[in-house]
Amino acid sequence: MSKLAEFIGQALDVLWHNPMRSLLTMLGLIIGVGSVIAILAVGDSTTKTVLNILSPYSLASAIVFPKQQQPDPLLAQIRYDDALRLKRELTDAKDVLPVMLLPMETRVNHQDKTIRVVTAGAGQGTDTTPLAEGRLFDDQDLSAHRRVAILSAQARHELLGDEGSAIGQLIRLNGSDFEVVGVQAPPVGGGLLSTGQAGLITVTIPYTLIPQLGYTYVFGLTIVAPDSSQLTHVADEAIAALKRIHGERAQYEERDIKQLNDGIQRVFGILTGVIGVVAGISLIVGGVGIMNIMLVSVTERTREIGIRKAIGATRGDIILQFFVEALLLCLIGGLIGMLIGVGLAELVIHVWVKQLTPNLVSFAWGPIIAVSILFSAGVGVLFGTYPAVRASYLNPIEALRYE
C-alpha cells in the first residue's frame, strides 16, 4: 500500500503547509470530541469513585430484616436461632449469620461514650475493609464465645489513642472486658457511607456472643451468596423461609450493596449518555465545518485536480487523495480534542469530584481512545466523502482551464 502511504504523506504536506487554516478547520471537531471525551471521562471516574466509596461492603452479601411497618411487629421479629435454621434450609446460601446492632457504653478519660457495636462471623464478612493490624475472627473465637473485638480506625483512635499496638489491649463495653484482636484500616470513602460515619465509633464482636449478652431477638440476618449474581435469588429464598417460620403476615425487606451499585451505574450511565449525545451534536457541527473547508479546498485546487486527471489519475485516485486528507484532518483534530477533553476531565474531577472524597479513581483510557478514534474517523468518513467524490467528477478539460 505504498500509494496510500504516499497519499497520507501528501495530505500531511497540504495540512502542514497551512497550519492556521487546518487548525481552524479542525476547531469544531476538536470542541466536539473534546466535550464528548470530557463527559465520558468525568462520568467514568465519578461512577468508579462513588462505587469505590461503597466498596468496603461485599457484593455477595445482603441483610434481611423486618420492615418498619408491620401488621404485627412482634410476630416478625427475627430470633437468634432463625439463623441456624435458615443455614440448614437454604442450600444455595454460603452462610447465614445473625446481625445485631447495639449501642454500648464505655468510658474514655472519665467520660461516658456510646459505641456502636456490630456483630460478625469468622473471616471476611460483609464489611471488607482491610485490617491495619491483627486478624479477623476465627472459628475458635466463635465456638469458645471469646470476648474479642475488632476496632474501626476511628474507634482505635478514640478509645486507645494512636500510640503503640492495639492488639491485646482491653476495652470495656457495658461493664465487661473485650480483647482487641484486629484494627481496621481507615475507610476509603473518607467517612461517607462507611462504618465510621457521623462520629459513631464502631466495634465489631463475634455474633456468638449475642445470647450471652442477653438477646434472643436480633436486628436481622446476613445472607451470604456464593457470588453476587446469585445474591437476589438467595435473599428471596431467605425471606420466604422467614415467612414460613413467622407466618405470611410477617414482612421483611432485603438490602444489599449490589442493588445500590447497579443503580448508581445505571443512573450515571444514563446521565453520561444524555449529556454525551448533546455534546455529540457539536461533532456534527464540526463535521459540517470540515466538509465546508474541504469543498473550498476542492474548488481552489481545481487546476491541480485537472493536471492529475490529465496525467492519468483515475476517479478513485482523486477520491482517495481528498478522502485521506479529510480523514487525517479529522483524526488529528480528534487526537487534539481527546487531549483537551482528558485535560478538562482531570480538572473537573480534581476540583469537583474531589469534594466528595479524596480517594479518586481515574477513568479508563481504553474507551476514551476508542471513542475518540471512532468518532473522529466517523465524522471524517461522513463529511469527507462528498467533497472527495465531487472532486473526482471534475471534467479535466474544464479543470485545466480554471484560473
Partner: protein
Amino acid sequence: MSEPVVLMEQVSKIYHIGDIEVPALRGVSFTIEPGEYVAIMGPSGSGKSTLMNLIGCLDKPTTGVYRLDGVDVAAQSDQELAAVRLKKLGFVFQGFNLLARTSAVRNVALPLFYVGDKDREAKAMEVLEKVGLADRAYHRPNELSGGQQQRVAIARALVNNPALVLADEPTGNLDSVTAGGIMALFAQLNDEGHTIIMVTHDEDIARYAKRIIRLRDGLVIEDEAVANRTLATVE
C-alpha cells in the same frame, strides 16, 4: 507495417450549448505514424483545441473512429481512458501545469506514482538529466525559470515512455530564445524516436515540425510535409 500512433477517420465533435448544436469538428481524417513530428495549426475557432482534447483522450468523438496506438478510444470507459492517458500519452501544456508545492523530481515522478512504480524517483531523475535539469531536481516550480519549468513538464510527459507526446502551445508562455531551446529539445526527442504532436497557432514554431496539419472551421484544409524546416539549435 506497424500500427499508426494516431488514426482518425471522419471524426466529428458536436457540442450542445442549450438546444443549439455547435459542431467543432466536422469529419477529420488523418494518420500519424510512429516517429513523426506533427504541428496542428489553425486560428481560434478552427477546432484545434477540440482536436487536441480528442487526441489527448480527455474527450470522446461524437462520430467517427479514433485509434490511439491501436486502442479504440470511443469504446473506452472513463476509467479506461485514464489508464490510456497514463500509459500512452505525455502532456505538455502552455502553462506548464506543474504542482506548485512539489519539487521538480516529484512532479516528474507523478505519472509513475499513479502507475504504482516503486522506483519512480530514480527514473524521474534519469529523465530530468536528459532534459538537462538534474541539478534543479529538488527545486519547486516557483524557483525555476519558465523554460526550466517547461523542461520539467516535458520530463514528466516522457517519464512513462508514452506512445505519443502531445504539446499544447508549448512555447506560448516563453520568450523566443527560451522557445528555441524547447524546440531544440523536441527535435532531439523526435530524433530519438519519440512521436510528437504540437498544437500551435504560431507559424514560426510550427515550422520546427516535419509536417503541418492545418484546420479551419472544423475541417482539415491542408496536410503536408514542411518544405524548409527550421532546424533547431541549442542556444
